[in-house]
């Protein structure tokens, strides 16, 4: 016999209570893990997507808020208010490389997919894409789609296959090499075809701009604003603005998760308090057999800790499973698009898993302190005489 075996036997003796208490901490940690998994990878994703966009400046419709800026990074559907004339005006400013995008969405097999209308040559040079299969657009208004690597895998599309966008069957021209960003999950159409299918006339959603001289960025912003009256943000401003939105969402999620874990902690306190009352006599026997106060304290703390470790493990498994299973069903918006973009590979983060189990254990141990102290404080006679 040893202390850990005794702890295990004590806990599992009342299976119903053990399971319900475990369920409490499991649910608490699972919600914590789910929210962390969903929200945790967003920050990295945003940095990655901003870098992948490759722009120093982004032109957006006037009056756009952070949400539109977030949509640029997530590939979410955006209003199309920037005219070809306005793009031409911007292009007239020297020192800028301007690439317009039409951001829309379609569905393949009932699953939403980002559609991006692009100027093939300009975008290829801007993004430095590689073509892994098939061919790229051969002229600026070719009818067909070039697909990101992840989307091609997801829908099992190869060059020569067809994709239906807005009721029109389009041939798959080629598959892009992995970029590591949202482009991997996007269908690209030539801009004129996209504008025709989505009835956008000659308009686009936003324009990404690379400047020749970074030192003159502020000057360029002013020039574009004066010339077009459109909104212009630098990549740094956009990053700050988007991270601000995500930060608020993350804090909200973390608070909800904290409440769940707190509720679970009270569940453990309740169980351990009940145990100290029910096992008063046993505590007395242990004391009569030579158990010191610190041994009784340790025994109850280990029981709490056991709940924390097991609850942490089951909570992490449940939370990750929930994150992976639920993610595709979350309704579409800019935030959840990011979540979807994260993929299960990013959701399973060893640091987060280890941290959650440690967190669960620490919470359980802290929850066990008062009941353990109560148990250890009993005198042998008080405990043995308990009826």
């Amino acid at each position: 016999m040893n202390l850990s075996k005794l702890v295990y036997k004590n806990i599992t003796r009342r299976r119903g209570r053990f399971l319900f208490t475990l369920l409490g901490i499991t649910i608490g940690i699972a919600s914590f893990v789910t929210f962390m998994a969903l929200g945790g990878s967003l920050k990295d994703e945003i940095h990655r997507e901003t870098a992948a966009l490759g722009a120093n400046l982004v032109v957006i419709p006037k009056g756009s808020c952070g949400y539109e800026q977030l949509s640029i990074l997530t590939g979410d559907q955006m209003p199309t208010n920037i005219s070809a004339a306005e793009i031409a005006t911007i292009r007239a400013i020297k020192g800028l490389t301007v690439v317009p995008f039409l951001a829309q969405q379609t569905a393949i097999n009932n699953k939403p997919v980002t559609v991006s209308g692009i100027e093939p040559e300009a975008t290829l040079a801007f993004k430095r894409w590689q073509i892994s299969q098939g061919a790229y657009f051969s002229n600026p208004d070719e009818t067909g789609v070039v697909i990101g690597a992840t989307a091609a895998r997801q829908f099992d599309l190869k060059p020569g296959a067809t994709v239906t966008v807005r009721g029109e069957k389009l041939p798959v021209l080629g598959i892009l090499g992995e970029t590591g960003g949202r482009d991997d999950a996007t269908l690209f159409l030539s801009l004129p075809v996209a504008q025709r299918l989505f009835k956008s006339a000659d308009k686009v959603s936003y324009a990404a701009i690379r400047v020749d001289d970074l030192a003159r960025t502020e000057g360029y912003i002013e020039k574009i604003r004066e010339a077009t009256g459109l909104g212009v943000v630098s990549d740094k401003q956009m990053l700050k603005s988007v991270l601000g939105i995500v930060g608020t969402v993350n804090i909200t999620l973390q608070m909800i998760a904290a409440v769940s874990v707190l509720a679970a902690a009270f569940g453990i306190i309740n169980t351990m308090m009940a145990a100290t009352y029910e096992r008063k006599r046993e505590i007395g026997i242990l004391q009569a057999l030579g158990a010191r106060r610190r041994t009784i304290f340790l025994l109850f703390m280990l029981e709490s800790g056991f709940y924390g470790i097991i609850g942490g493990v089951t909570g992490v498994i449940t939370g990750l499973a929930t994150a992976v299973i639920v993610t595709p069903y979350i309704s579409q918006n800019a935030f959840t698009t990011f979540v979807k973009g994260s993929g299960s590979g990013d959701i399973i983060d060893i640091k987060m898993i280890a941290g959650s189990i440690l967190f669960s254990t620490v919470v359980a141990i802290v929850a066990g302190i008062y009941p353990a102290w109560r148990a250890a404080r009993l005198t042998p006679v008080e405990a043995i005489s308990y009826e």
């Binding site: 005794l6 004590n10 009569a288 106060r293 041994t295 006679v381």
Partner: protein, 223 residues
């Protein structure tokens, strides 16, 4: 022969709010090593309190209690716990076995608390269960054992750390006459092997087996 237990003017009172209840008034006694002693007396007159004091489960409010040369009424709690584990084996009326553990685990737990290694615990627990005639019940849980068998497991547990003293509170109080006789025979065997046996009892059958009887009445010892 030496005294193994000694009290000097030991008194114990309990306070509950404004009310003070005196359980033991002024008890001075000596119990010889290797003796078989019964403490008898009416209910509520201080027998169990006396047992708790001499077993180190409680401390006197006045006076002194010794086990061997150690004044146990003064030593720190942790030393007192260690002393209980090594020198005193307790047996209670209601057996007080740990319900979730098997018979052999109940015996092992006393050794675990004394720091005996796992393997040695198992070897010794098997021997002790054989000594009390329950070798074949080693894997049984308390609920699967009769009252007599449970009490024999409790005696095996009390012997786990080879204590000098066996302190028992109504050890046969919940047993039928056959089981009572079995337990008393076992206690006499242990006594013959050199253990100091002290039993708090109401039973004449038990008292008959004792070498010495200490009567407790109104919190005092009547020699």
């Amino acid at each position: 022969m030496n005294n193994i237990i000694r009290t000097e003017h030991a008194a114990k009172s309990y306070k509950s709010g404004e009310i003070t209840t005196t359980a033991l008034k002024d008890v001075s006694l000596e119990i010889l090593q290797g003796s078989f002693t019964c403490i008898i007396g009416p209910s509520g007159h201080g027998k169990s309190t006396l047992m708790h004091l001499i077993g180190g489960l409680d401390r006197p409010t006045d006076g002194k209690v010794y086990i061997g040369d150690v004044e146990i009424s003064r030593i720190p709690n942790s030393d007192l716990a260690r002393l209980r584990g090594k020198r005193v084996g307790f047996v209670f009326q209601f057996f007080n076995l740990m319900q979730g553990l098997t018979a052999i685990e109940n015996v092992e737990i006393a050794m675990m608390l004394a720091g005996v290694p796992d393997r040695e615990q198992r070897v010794r627990a098997v021997k002790l269960l054989a000594l009390v005639g329950l070798a074949e019940k080693a894997g049984a849980k308390p609920g699967q054992l009769s009252g007599g068998q449970q009490q024999r497991v409790a005696i095996a547990r009390a012997l786990a750390n080879d204590p000098d003293i066996l302190l028992m509170d109504e050890p046969t109080g919940n047993l039928d006459s056959v089981a009572e006789a079995e337990v008393l025979d076992l206690l006499q065997t242990l006594h013959r092997q050199g253990k100091t046996v002290v039993i708090v009892t109401h039973s004449d059958e038990v008292a008959k087996r004792a070498e010495r009887i200490i009567r407790v009445k109104d919190g005092l010892v009547a020699h």
